[in-house]
Amino acid sequence: MLLFILIALTGCGRSAPHTPSVGKPESNPDAPFRNVASEWSIEFKDQPRNAASYHLPALMGSGCAVLDFDRNGHLDLLFLAHDSLNRNVAFFSQEVEGTFTERSEKLGLQSLSGAGVAVGDANNDGWPDLYIASYGPDTLWLNESGHGFRNVTDNCGISNARWGTSACWLDFDRDGWLDLFVTNYVDYEDRACTRLGGGDPDFCTPGLFNRTADVLFRNVTGESPDGALSFVDVSNSTGISNGLSAGLGVTAMDFNGDNWIDIYVASDQHPNLLWINQQGQFTDEATIRGCDLDFQGRAQASMGIALGDFSGDGIEDLVLSHLDGESHAVYRRDAAGYCRDICRETGFATATRTSTGFGVCAVDFDFDGICEVLTVNGRVQRPGKRPLAPADFWKPYQQPCQLLKTDRRDGPWKAYDVLGGEPHLARGLAIGDLDRDGDPDAVVSTVGESVIVLRNDFVSARPGLAVRIVDPKLSGRSCPGAKISLDTDDGPLEHTFQPCQSSMSSHADELFLAMPSGSATLTLSVIWPHGDMRPERFSFARGNDAPIVIERGEGIVE
């Protein structure tokens, strides 16, 4: 029973006990990930043009996404770049299990470039579409039934000329159509900086530039007489434009328990924003809810966001990745949605102080019932001199990726270097079960080097499963923002089904849950992000390694 409680309380994992199909862990046994990018023919390098002009977007890099664009059950990968010498996009489709083929041109994406990606079904046809946030104008790409993508930006009311970094699909008005929130970074003016004494130039700190307002687009396709895909910029009328951020990460979840999806923005060197949704109107309550600053009342350089329970109380908390010299913040959330930064108590303060984290996720990689936190790192300023060889330009910015682990639900977490401490300049991070062996893997976007694919080689402690949360009445599309409550003896355990986390990236639309110990079934209830707010209960057994699909209307409404 105790094991059941432990697993169910934290339950952010999925797995069957499995043996890795290829190879064995080769690095730190505490962080057994293996970079299989070359092995799986996943080759992409964001090699910024004119790196030595120190154009800030080059350093900030771009994100990545894991999605099943053709709904064949195998996950595909999207990588972006801003202005790369090679190319600015790579789309690896997985037509046969384990075989990735680069198909960006065939899919009509060859002109794509950008910083951040959000995957969501804009037109409720069941096929995941792409929103690309960019240093230039953002773009929206409609999925044409798994055969390719079409740029529909000009005709659908989407327009964001600011430096978009991360975007999030959410149904803020609960009308069944996915709306779109885009967080913008700074009002950047192209220039390099030097230390005060002069000398070698380096990238400027974003603190030199003004923050910008974010954008919320309401999806009004359902109100369009001809059903044409249509969005309206409602940033002013909803209150979103009343706040400023230097946003690098965004997520959307019900923060205060009223079943309306709120929006949380990680802001670089400025207070974070929490847009509380008051039935379609938004007010920034980050300050009064205690998730704007660190525990000492200082603004930090917030980059990425991960959701998970880090205090063992069953309520979903937030981790924010930060600059070196700062610690990742761990905002413990109470039932009413008020927060306290517990980075010291959880060990994150010590574990993350010397790294600059961007992409971050909280997933139970080893299925011991407790979330691990994977954080991908890379500096934003060069320590010491610029290397003489141009090929080494990005090396001083590199840092190892880290996995934070603990044996107890409330920590303390300890950091372990991933890939044997190999340094990388990593930015985006997205999660999904790429090899369909039942456990989550990770992809990492980088700058100046090849992307990384981290195959999870943990030996699973318990069985787990992946669930997809869909609405068959909306062509079976995923429902981001759905609130999951797992039954445990200690009460419910919250999860938000939300692919938009991390930084500039989009996770696969799968939620990884650990099976309870000693039980063949898992029971959970779902509060859907649209329509009826009453929870719907589901009970199911674990099958094979494929995700279990939870369909709206197929459970028992409480």
Binding site: L244, T287, A349, T354
Partner: protein, 392 residues
């Protein structure tokens, strides 16, 4: 004679015994190839002083400050470290060393700060820094005690009171936190934010702080830190020198105007100096030369927003509203999110008696800077004037 000789030997031995036996390493020599010539000369001068007296703490410390002032952090840390070892009772070097290492290695910084705050000579800045580091290390009780000591030594200091309030709040002592905040006479960014949190407790408050915290000064601006000021005094980079010359020129020192002009000639790429000089020339009635300064800058760095904005301001200073409008139009075409540009354009349009267009410009500015109360007030005034029929 023999007695005197023995006394000298004894004194020499005593002095030697008092000097910490440290092995002085090589003097750090950063790569200054790209540094400003003024900085290079100054740093070399300080380095030569160390090389001439390698066991002198002050020489090391002052070289450390010179390096620190120009962001040669690694080398500054080495120098402060040696200086602190050579003269352990001189608190400044330990403090400056602690400041440099506190974020990366707070445990090491704490050891240094503890030595300082035990001393009766401990400054407020050092006590606050130590309390912060203790708190970062999870030693809240020690931090609380230290803040209490600081409160006793420097009563009513806002930076101390805020920290006491914040620590109390973190601990769940809400009333104590409220009391501490109440005892701070003026609003600061941090105090307003904490006040908002405290107000929300148990009341389900759903509103942002009534005063925008972003517009208020930070509480740490109330700390007078002579050690950091000494580091700042070591700056020799032309941007800083330009700022100082401009400040002196504004205060009526004509020679400083010459100094600034020389700096612009020597470092034509430093736009801030160029703009300062242009404005000062315009204030002195030499508009033509001021225009020339900006035009030369735009030749060097075409399309720079600061220069474009400066060019518009020059026209505004002389009430040439049409010219200003044209120049602001050029700026905003290149930088559509330039908040000051929209704000200035709104003002210019007001002067041109085009209030409806001014409102549009204010709307753009407010959208970009929604917390700017002054902007909102100016927009409101124009709107009221239109409604009352005072303006077309």
């Amino acid at each position: 004679m023999a007695f005197r000789f023995l006394t000298i030997i004894a004194l020499t031995m005593l002095i030697a015994a008092c000097q910490p036996a440290i092995e002085v390493p090589a003097v750090p020599k950063p790569d200054l190839s790209g540094a400003y010539v003024e900085v290079r000369e100054f740093l070399n001068e300080k380095r030569f002083a160390v090389e001439a007296a390698p066991t002198t703490a002050n020489a090391w410390g002052e070289y450390g400050m010179a390096l620190d002032a120009h962001e040669y952090s690694d080398e500054a840390i080495q120098c402060y470290d040696i200086a602190a070892q050579l003269k352990p009772d001189q608190l400044r070097w330990k403090y400056l060393l602690a400041l440099k290492i506190r974020h990366q290695t707070p445990d090491k910084a704490e050891i240094l700060l503890a030595q300082i705050t035990k001393s009766p000579k401990a400054t407020l800045a050092a006590m606050i820094c130590h309390a912060d580091v203790l708190s970062e290390l999870g030693r809240d009780d020690d931090a609380r005690q230290l803040l209490a000591n600081a409160d006793a030594a420097f009563p009513g200091q806002p930076a101390v009171l805020f920290r006491q309030a914040n620590l109390a709040f973190q601990e769940g002592k809400v009333e104590f936190a409220r009391e501490k905040l109440k005892s701070i006479a003026t609003d600061f960014g941090e105090t307003v934010r904490l006040q908002s949190r405290l107000s929300a407790i148990g009341k389900n408050v759903q509103s942002a702080p009534s005063v925008s915290a972003d517009e208020l000064p930070g509480v740490d601006q109330t700390i007078v830190d002579h050690d950091l000021a000494a580091v700042l005094n070591c700056r020799r980079d032309p941007l800083w020198e330009g700022k100082r010359a401009a400040d002196r020129a504004k205060a009526g020192d004509q020679l400083s105007l010459m100094t600034l002009a020389t700096l612009v000639k020597k470092h034509p790429e430093l736009i801030e100096n160029r703009i300062q000089l242009a404005f000062l020339l315009a204030e002195h009635g030499d508009r033509e030369l001021a225009e020339q300064m900006i035009a030369e800058g735009l030749e060097l760095t075409p399309g720079d927003s600061r220069l474009l904005a400066g060019q518009a301001v020059l026209a505004m200073l002389d009430a040439e509203w049409t010219v200003a409008e044209e120049r602001l139009g050029r700026l905003l075409k290149a930088f559509p999110d330039h908040e000051a540009g929209w704000s200035d354009l709104a003002f210019v349009l007001e002067q041109l008696s085009r209030p409806v267009e001014a409102i549009d410009a204010y709307d753009r500015a407010v959208k970009l800077s929604p917390a700017d109360g002054e902007l909102i007030q100016r927009r409101k005034t124009v709107l009221e004037s239109i409604e009352k029929g005072r303006l077309p």
